[in-house]
Structure formats: structure tokens, C-alpha cells
């Protein structure tokens, strides 16, 4: 859990992402979208498919212009990605790192989307979000590394080893396709009805408290301090804690836990 996560009982909301996480997410998302579009324009497709005839897209057939925009977007994309790794790494916020059993849980969750079985209680992130995060992070890392090699070649070493150039080019191209697929899957996942309440979170930073209590009880549990007399006792069995979620009176805001989360990050993948 990020240290900014907190319950706002008076507003019926929970802070899910802080401003840094929102900026990171949208910097990567918007620059990634621009990279994707200008990457497509770097294929000689815009003129062939008459995109150059569309209002405002006459530049799409100019490879130098789209390369320039590709570079601009890359600066934002790479800076945000490296910042994300270091910032959350140093703070020890690893809530999006997959946990043991995430694969099995993900299958159960996906089944529940189709009416088979019930969802297990979630932490801040769904198990498939954690898996998708690692997948997307790997795709982004490969795109950045291969893109840096290609940029270096463009600037300083047009006669770089052909083997290296071919590796960089085809890694960039293959992961470009995977990036498109991951992007579509990401949008598809967020549009699923049970996930829709999270959309608010990635725009506003907060989600509804009733939604979070219902679907992310393990996250809420981390944020809600236990009564003082219970703190001195041994931890209760998880099942009993679950039963109590939603039944306890909301804690006073002044004692909202700051230090509860020694895990959790970031942003939606």
C-alpha cells in the first residue's frame, strides 16, 4: 500500500492513487499512445492508406516529422518509466509485484467475470493486475532498450553491426505489436463491469469506499486501524477479520494509518 492511501469516510471515498502515481500513469499512457501512433506512421502506411488526406494528419506521411514526435514522446516515456522504477523501488512500494498464487487466482477471477464462482477478496490490486503489470513492464523495458539502440544508431553509428541493428529492430517491432495487444487488453479489462469503479481512480485518484470495502477488503483492512485493545493482542485469523469488514464503525480520520503499507505502489497497469 502506498503511504498516501487513506479512507475518507466523510466523502465515502478511498484514496487509491496519489498525484505522483497519476502523473506517472498518464505520462506513460499518453506518451505511449503517441509512440504507438507515430510508430505506425514510421511504417510507410499513412500515405498508402490516405491518412495524409485526413484533416490535421497531413504530417503523418512525413517520416522525419513523425520521428521527431516519436523522439519527443520517448523522452517523456523513458523518463516516466525510469522514475517509476526508482521512486517506488526506493520507497519499497511493491504492491504490483506478483505474489504466490496470482496465476491461479487470476483464473478464478476471470471465471467469475463469466458467472462461474465468486471473486476472492482482493488487496489493492487484483491478481491479474499484478501479472499484467509485470507483462507490461517487460514490454516497455524491451521497447525502451531496443529504441535506445536504434536512436544511438540514428545519431552516431549508422554503420553499427548489422546483427545488433537487426536484433534491436525486430525486438522493437515485435514488442510494438505486443504493446498494442497489451494496450487493448488493458482498456478491455477496465471496461469490464466489475472493474469499472476503478476507472474513477485513475482519473481522480479516489474510488468509492463502498466499492473498496466490497471488493478490496484486504486493502481496506490494511488502512483501518484496529481498536487499541486489539492491537496488543495476537492477530486474528483472516476469516474473522473478513467478517468484521464493513461492520466496524469507520475510524476517526485523525488516526488513519500512515505506516500501514509497507508494500503496494503505484498505478493501474
Amino acid at each position: 500500500m502506498a503511504m498516501s492511501d487513506k479512507i475518507m469516510n466523510d466523502k465515502g471515498l478511498v484514496v487509491r492513487h496519489n498525484i505522483i502515481e497519476l502523473v506517472e500513469h498518464w505520462a506513460i499512457a499518453l506518451s505511449g499512445l503517441l509512440l504507438l501512433v507515430t510508430g505506425i506512421f514510421e511504417l510507410p502506411m499513412a500515405n498508402r492508406y490516405y491518412l495524409t488526406s485526413l484533416p490535421g494528419l497531413s504530417w503523418s506521411g512525413d517520416f522525419i516529422t513523425s520521428l521527431y514526435i516519436h523522439y519527443v514522446a520517448s523522452v517523456v516515456f523513458i523518463t516516466a518509466a525510469v522514475f517509476h522504477l526508482l521512486y517506488h523501488g526506493i520507497l519499497g512500494e511493491g504492491g504490483m509485484i506478483p505474489r504466490r498464487g496470482d496465476l491461479k487466482s487470476s483464473i478464478e477471477v476471470m471465471k467469475s467475470f463469466f458467472g462461474k464462482g465468486e471473486e476472492p477478496p482482493f488487496h489493492k490490486y487484483l491478481p491479474e493486475q499484478r501479472l499484467a503489470y509485470v507483462g507490461m513492464a517487460f514490454i516497455i523495458a524491451m521497447l525502451i532498450l531496443s529504441g535506445l539502440v536504434k536512436t544511438y544508431k540514428n545519431l552516431y553509428a549508422p554503420d553499427m553491426s548489422l546483427t545488433l541493428v537487426l536484433w534491436a529492430t525486430w525486438i522493437h517491432n515485435v514488442f510494438f505489436i505486443l504493446f498494442i495487444m497489451a494496450f487493448v487488453a488493458h482498456i478491455g479489462a477496465i471496461l469490464l463491469k466489475p472493474n469499472r469503479p476503478m476507472i474513477r481512480g485513475i482519473f481522480m485518484g479516489t474510488v468509492r469506499l463502498d466499492y473498496a470495502r466490497h471488493r478490496h477488503p484486504l486493502w481496506i483492512e490494511e488502512m483501518e486501524p484496529r481498536p487499541v485493545d486489539e492491537v496488543k493482542m495476537e492477530p486474528e485469523p483472516v476469516d474473522e477479520v473478513k467478517e468484521e469488514i464493513g461492520e466496524d464503525p469507520p475510524p476517526p480520520l485523525s488516526v488513519v494509518s500512515e505506516e500501514a503499507g509497507k508494500e503496494e505502489p503505484n498505478k493501474e497497469p
Partner: protein, 336 residues
Amino acid sequence: MSADKKTGLNRRAFLKVSTGVAAAGAGLSLPREGFAAGRKRLATLIDLSRCDGCPGKDIPACVGACKTINMDKIPKIHEPIPEPWPRKTIEDWSKKREVFNRLTPYNFIYVHQAEIDEGGQKRIVFVPRRCMHCDNPACATICPFSANHKYENGAVVIDQELCFGGAKCKTVCPWEIPQRQSGVGIYLHILPSLAGNGVMYKCDLCNDRLEEGKLPVCIEACPQQAMLIGDRKEIYALAEERAKAMKGFIYGKKENGGTATLYVSPVSFTALNGTMKKQPGRPDMGPAERRMAKTDKMGKAVLQAPLYGIAAGVAGAFMALSRRKDRVQGGENGHE
């Protein structure tokens, strides 16, 4: 290793060639190791004071030799050639292979005849035209499949097994040198109607021959020794020397950011360019800026971006840790 071997050039042979004294066979015999691929940066010199267009021949010798050696380069064309969609451009030169007065997929060099008026007197200058093998060729660096590549020896070579024929290389070349043949290539095996449209062809400086220690065939065939190849520095120096001697001009040194082909001419290239109308397969000789240069500054920022991320990430994290510490201390103080 001798100095000659280090530069990749038999100096005696080079000088013979450069002064035009050598007999064609003996003078052009260059050491095998000198042209081994990827080891030496080469450049070519085209001396327009020497090229006479090969009078009496049906085709200039360089053009004829190039056509002959590349006769079977393009595989059999798929018939019918798939119609691309939605833009239905098909470029088929397979039935016009004999064309030699412009660049085509079957003709990588041609000789332009420039009629110059010098103070009322007509002067004819013959200008062999082919790929300039630029120092930083956009045609190669931004090929989306790296089908076009600049080798360490300076040759810019299209791999016809990888090329999709999208003609991006032609679009970004200031001289629009590469030429497309539809109906061949890898695109036929993928989505022939939707992506790709053949293979791009152009001069590859006879890179295969260079690897074998042979000269490019156009250079070997020239009876006037109007074309030379050698160590880049020496060719550049020789071009300067010849231009100075003839009070002439050089083209290719700065064009498109520099090239591995230098033209030396007794007539200004502005005058020569005046005789050239840029049209398909017939490049002009005007000023050619390197358009990619506009992206260089931003490209450098891309290479620096990981550092921006590291600086921001570390600074941000330590600020957050500091705030967290202050809050914890504040909390402790509050409880006291």
C-alpha cells in the same frame, strides 16, 4: 603491417589510377585485404573531367557492366502482380529491363549528359549518377525492418530478402535513388494486398565484390579511370587536390550531411544542376540538406532520458522519505 595495407590501398596502384597513367588491368589491381568488408572506410571519386560518356558505345561502359552483373539479381516476378490496396500503385520494370537512361530496379547507374553554355561556347559534361552512399543515410537508418544498412566500409546495401518495398527509403533520400519493383519479395508471403509492394533496388557499391577484394564493376569497367575507389581520407584528399588543380568544384562532401561519393567537376554544380530536371529515376544535383538533422537534438534528449528518470526518481523518493520521516516524528511528538 605496411602503411599501404593499413589504409587498405596499394598506394602505387592508387597513384597510377589517380593520375590515369596505369593500364586498366594493372593499375586497378587492388589488394584483396584492402577491400575486405567492414574493415575500411571507403569512398569513391567521380571525376567529371575524365568521363566522356563512352562515345561509340551503345551504352556507357559503367552502365553496361552494372547491368550485366546485376542481370539476374531480381527474381522472377509474380504474375499477376498483386494489386495493392487501397492505393493501387504498381511499379513493374520487368518488361523494360533494357532502359539505361535513368535509374530503375534493373539499372543502378546512368550517365546524364549536361550541355553547358560557357561564355557562348557549348561544353558537354557527362555525369554518372547512382547512389551516393551517404555517411548517415536516412534511407538505411529509418528503414522499419533494417532491410537497408550502411556497412562499415561505407556501402549502403538493401537486403532484397527483407525489403517490403514500402519505398520509405526513396521518400527520405534527397535524390530519390532507390527504385521499386513490384511483384517480388517477402511481402508476397504475408499480406500482399495490404502491406508492402515489392522490393527497392539501388547500387550497393558491389559490396559482394568488395568482400572478395574486387573493385565495383563500374569502376573496373571505366576506360577513362573517371571513377576511383579507395581509403576515404585519401579519396577526400585527392578530390580536393584535383578540384584545386582544375579550379573546379566538389559535390557530395557536404550534401545530405556528407557522402562516400565525391564528384569533381571543372564546371560548377549549380550550372550542372541547371541542366537536370528532377524527375522519377533522374536525380538532380542541387543542395541536399540532411533532413534527419532536425531530429538529432531531440534524439540526444532520448538518449539522456534514462538519466532524467534516475535523477527525478532518486530525488523524488528521498523527498518522500524525508516527508514520511517528518510525519513519523511529528506523530511521535504529538503523542508525547
